[in-house]
């Protein structure tokens, strides 16, 4: 395969496309799939067959178009008309009016200049929803693998790294480590074997960016990985993808096979001496395996548990070899950076956060879906212009970023620019891109409890602060939401937050208290009201009125409560007492 042959594949495919007078793209990703996207595609096929225009119309299922809340979505080309909430009975009408009659059905069409699309800037998501994710030719026709060809043919390894460095791209997994720096470290470490790993173990509640990207355009990730492999000198790549994403796995498998067949992966890629293979490793459902050292342990076939760093994976990763580990979105940004140059990318975004960021909008927001915006866009614009604000006349309360590791951004900080530094300043994190909006119907104590329960369930059990600390934190929060907490509990809660954050082994434990710390900071009144008045403003928590006796918080088996240290007299049953069982009452 040479670069000319690559162009030829693209040209041939484009010529093939010119043979069609119209294209129907039916979104079959995530939300649209569950609202019947696939059935729609079949109906369109039938309708076209019935009108004898099958040969003229290309009907494909695509990846996520973005406006998931208004699914199923159907986009028609060449007019690029997007039809939303398409029902089965609309199919015939669309074919008759739009395809045959060439008239746009205005009542179903989504306005092209609506802020949801107009305010976005798509780089990582550029081809997603516009190509057939199962066709490598379609990807090549849209400029795919050109960056890989360019990198291998015209760039030195250091040149690729320099380009990535100058782009200012930072890790999109959440921590924001400079990607170019990471690459240059792996490149410099001397080793006979190096690895490139793509972290697709997306586990944050409410986040679906990685999934949509893999399902919608798997080749972009493979291309990014191959470029990374070339730059750092690796010959083997792994994609670690969640077992809960069967379609993503299937698409990746297919994409790898296609890429190998077209010699985009394998030996002597683009007639160079660069060899690169990609294999899949499928996660078994542990959130902690998104942590890099646990992820690598899992790839090696060991128990998915983190280990202390340093050594960092870039020095000693998979099987002790230098390993480059990046997130799906980071890899998806690489081909455009190579094609358009690092300077172009660095021109987007803010001074310290370059480029764009993909967000998954979820929660109480009108336009649930997947968006990509330039860094530094004010949160208000994302939520109210692109997201369309709160549905049903609800009132905004807070936005949550970063999942169980992140924090809440309240009303008064709505105007902060969304970049790594600004989010950290208000006690949240960029995270991988989950953005959950809550309105007045949500109780912040209850939300903190929810995320703590998540972390408690997902703790691997290796280090004590995370294994036991999250349980203790959860118990206190649970008492608060059932009206059994005391003021002392609030102090213990704060103490525990500090301790779990400072002493845990890995990121999961270190960030587990974040939702609590953040809600305590901005919504402390709600905590006070829960404890002192048994009031829940949002009406979520059911608590007995104050004069009633508080319920026993946790089921305490009838075991004689004997403390182990001999110096301590038998401690009282810990949970049932209103003061939370502290030492004051023990004698």
């Amino acid at each position: 395969m040479t670069i000319d042959e690559l162009y030829e594949i693209g040209q041939n495919f484009r010529k093939q496309l010119e043979g069609f007078s119209a294209e129907i793209h039916v979104c079959c990703s995530g939300g649209c799939f569950s609202t019947g996207g696939l059935a729609l595609k079949e109906l369109f096929e039938k309708a076209c067959a019935a009108r004898n225009i099958s040969a003229d119309v290309r009907i494909i299922s695509t990846g996520c178009i973005g406006l998931c809340g208004a699914g199923p979505l159907v986009r028609l080309f060449p007019s690029e008309t997007l039809y939303v909430k398409v029902q089965r009975e609309d199919v015939e009408r669309i074919v008759d009016e739009h395809i045959v009659g060439k008239r746009v059905l205005t009542e179903l069409a989504y306005p092209a200049d609506a802020p949801f699309f107009a305010k976005q800037q798509q780089i990582a998501l550029k081809n997603m929803g516009r190509i057939d994710p199962e066709s490598i030719d379609d990807y090549i026709a849209h400029g795919g693998y050109e960056a890989l060809a360019k990198a291998i043919t015209y760039y030195t390894q250091d040149g690729v790294i320099l380009e990535v460095r100058s782009s200012g791209l930072r890790g999109r997994g959440g921590a924001g480590y400079p990607t170019g720096l990471k690459w240059s470290i792996v490149r410099k470490v001397k080793s006979t074997q190096k690895y490139v790993v793509c972290n697709a173990d997306e586990g944050d509640p409410g986040a679906f960016m990685d999934r949509a990207m893999i399902e919608g355009n798997p080749h972009a990730i493979l291309e990014g990985m191959a470029i990374a492999g070339y730059a750092v000198g690796a010959t083997q790549g792994y994609v670690y993808v969640r077992g809960e994403y069967p379609l993503a796995i299937e698409r990746l498998k297919k994409a790898i096979k296609q890429a190998e067949r077209t010699q985009m992966l394998g030996n002597r890629i683009f007639d160079s001496d660069f060899n690169f293979r990609v294999d899949l490793r499928i996660g078994a459902g542990a959130f902690v395996c998104g942590e890099e050292t646990a992820l690598m342990a899992s790839i090696e076939g060991r128990r998915g548990q983190p280990r202390p760093r340093p050594p960092y994976p870039s020095q000693s990763g998979l099987w002790g070899m230098p390993t480059l580990l990046n997130n799906v979105e980071t890899f998806a940004n690489i081909p455009p950076i190579i094609l358009n140059g690092g300077k172009w990318f660095a021109g987007i975004g803010t001074e310290k956060s370059k480029g764009t960021k993909v967000f998954a909008l979820a929660g109480r927001i009108a336009n649930t879906g997947l968006i990509e915006v330039p860094m530094g866009m004010p949160l208000r614009e994302i939520i109210f212009d692109i997201g369309g604000g709160i549905p049903d006349g609800g009132e905004f309360k807070a936005a949550q970023t970063g999942g169980p590791s992140g924090g809440y951004i309240p009303m008064q900080h709505l105007d902060i620019p969304v970049d790594y530094e600004s989010l950290a300043q208000v006690g949240s994190i960029m995270g991988s891109g989950g953005l959950i909006v809550v309105d007045k119907t949500s109780c912040m104590v209850d939300l903190a409890r929810f995320f703590m329960e998540f972390c408690m369930d997902e703790s691997c059990g290796k280090c004590i602060p995370c294994r036991v600390g999250t349980v203790q934190l959860f118990k206190i929060l649970d008492r608060m939401t059932t009206g059994a907490a005391t003021v002392q509990d609030l102090h213990t809660l704060e103490e525990l937050c500090d301790m779990v954050k400072d002493t845990s082994l890995c990121g999961l434990g270190q960030t587990a208290p974040n939702p609590v710390v953040s809600t305590l900071h901005f919504f402390r009144r709600e905590y006070d009201e829960h404890i002192l008045k048994h009031e829940c403003n949002a009406g979520v928590c059911e608590m007995p009125a104050l004069d009633e006796p508080a319920p026993v918080a946790a089921a305490v088996p009838a075991v004689p409560a004997v403390s182990a240290a001999e110096t301590v007299p038998a401690a009282e049953a810990p949970a049932g007492k209103k003061n939370g069982g502290s030492k004051k009452k023990s004698t």
Partner: protein
């Protein structure tokens, strides 16, 4: 050849080879840093977080058992914050399992109990979890009492690294984590167990003990580790 580094631990200037950890350097100079999961001779895993120390110029607390010494490092192991955290960690361990010293075979010889004394734990402020846990007495010579296990994984490591049998491993996650033999079967039915008893000797609590031992009778001695490790690594048959 290792470079020699000098560093300050709790105000004392000490020297150590660059391959040494902060804990190694402290132990060599008789400076005490509390530990639980660590055992000289086994790989350090940094799981118990008791040996966390403050290093000047670093925000994060680092485990002394896995952090290598560096030139001019200034280490503080006894700050008020660390002492507080250590006590909380020990309290958490007591709250997590069913540790009842008065009826325990290891009473008086227990590292967890000693840690309780050391950190000045006079009560447990956290909720006791009172988990329902099993006792495995199927082995001919030894007993495993999950109620007393602190999940230090010393047994897992000694079996894998020293004995080479890898009978032990860890199953479950979060608070439900527990040690298992082979594929979570009975210990007595384990095909890989050599009944060498190393795991029993390294266990810091009364979770693993000899059958037939009564309250307070199970004292443990892990000196054999030093002997084996010296023999293997230095080819010296000395204790």
């Amino acid at each position: 050849m290792d470079e020699i580094k000098t560093l300050t631990i709790d105000g004392e200037i000490v020297s150590a080879p660059s391959s040494a950890t902060i804990l190694d350097a402290a132990m060599e100079n008789d400076l005490h840093i509390p530990t639980l999961c660590n055992l000289q001779g086994l790989d350090a895993v940094g799981a118990c977080r008791l040996c966390l120390v403050e290093i000047q110029g670093q925000n994060k607390l680092q485990p002394a058992c896995t952090t290598r010494v560096e030139e001019n490092m200034v280490v503080q192991s006894k700050s008020a914050r660390l002492q507080k955290y250590r006590r909380m960690i020990v309290e958490m361990l007591f709250a997590e399992g069913n540790h009842i010293c008065s009826v325990c075979v290891a009473n008086g010889h227990c590292e967890l109990q000693n840690l309780g004394y050391e950190v000045g734990m006079d009560s447990v402020r956290f909720d006791y979890v009172y988990p329902t846990k099993k006792v495995d007495a199927t082995h001919e010579r030894f007993v495993l009492d999950h109620n007393r296990c602190v999940l230090c994984t010393r047994c897992v490591r000694v079996c894998d690294e020293i004995e080479g049998a890898h009978t032990w491993d860890v199953a479950g996650r979060g608070i439900g984590t527990f040690v298992v033999t082979d594929l979570a079967g009975d210990w007595g039915g384990s095909g890989s167990c050599t009944s060498c008893g190393k795991c029993v000797l390294v266990c810091p609590t009364g979770a693993l003990f000899d059958k037939g031992k009564a309250v307070g009778e199970m004292s443990k001695n892990s000196d054999f580790l030093e002997y084996i490790v010296n023999a293997r690594e230095k080819k010296q048959w000395i204790k």
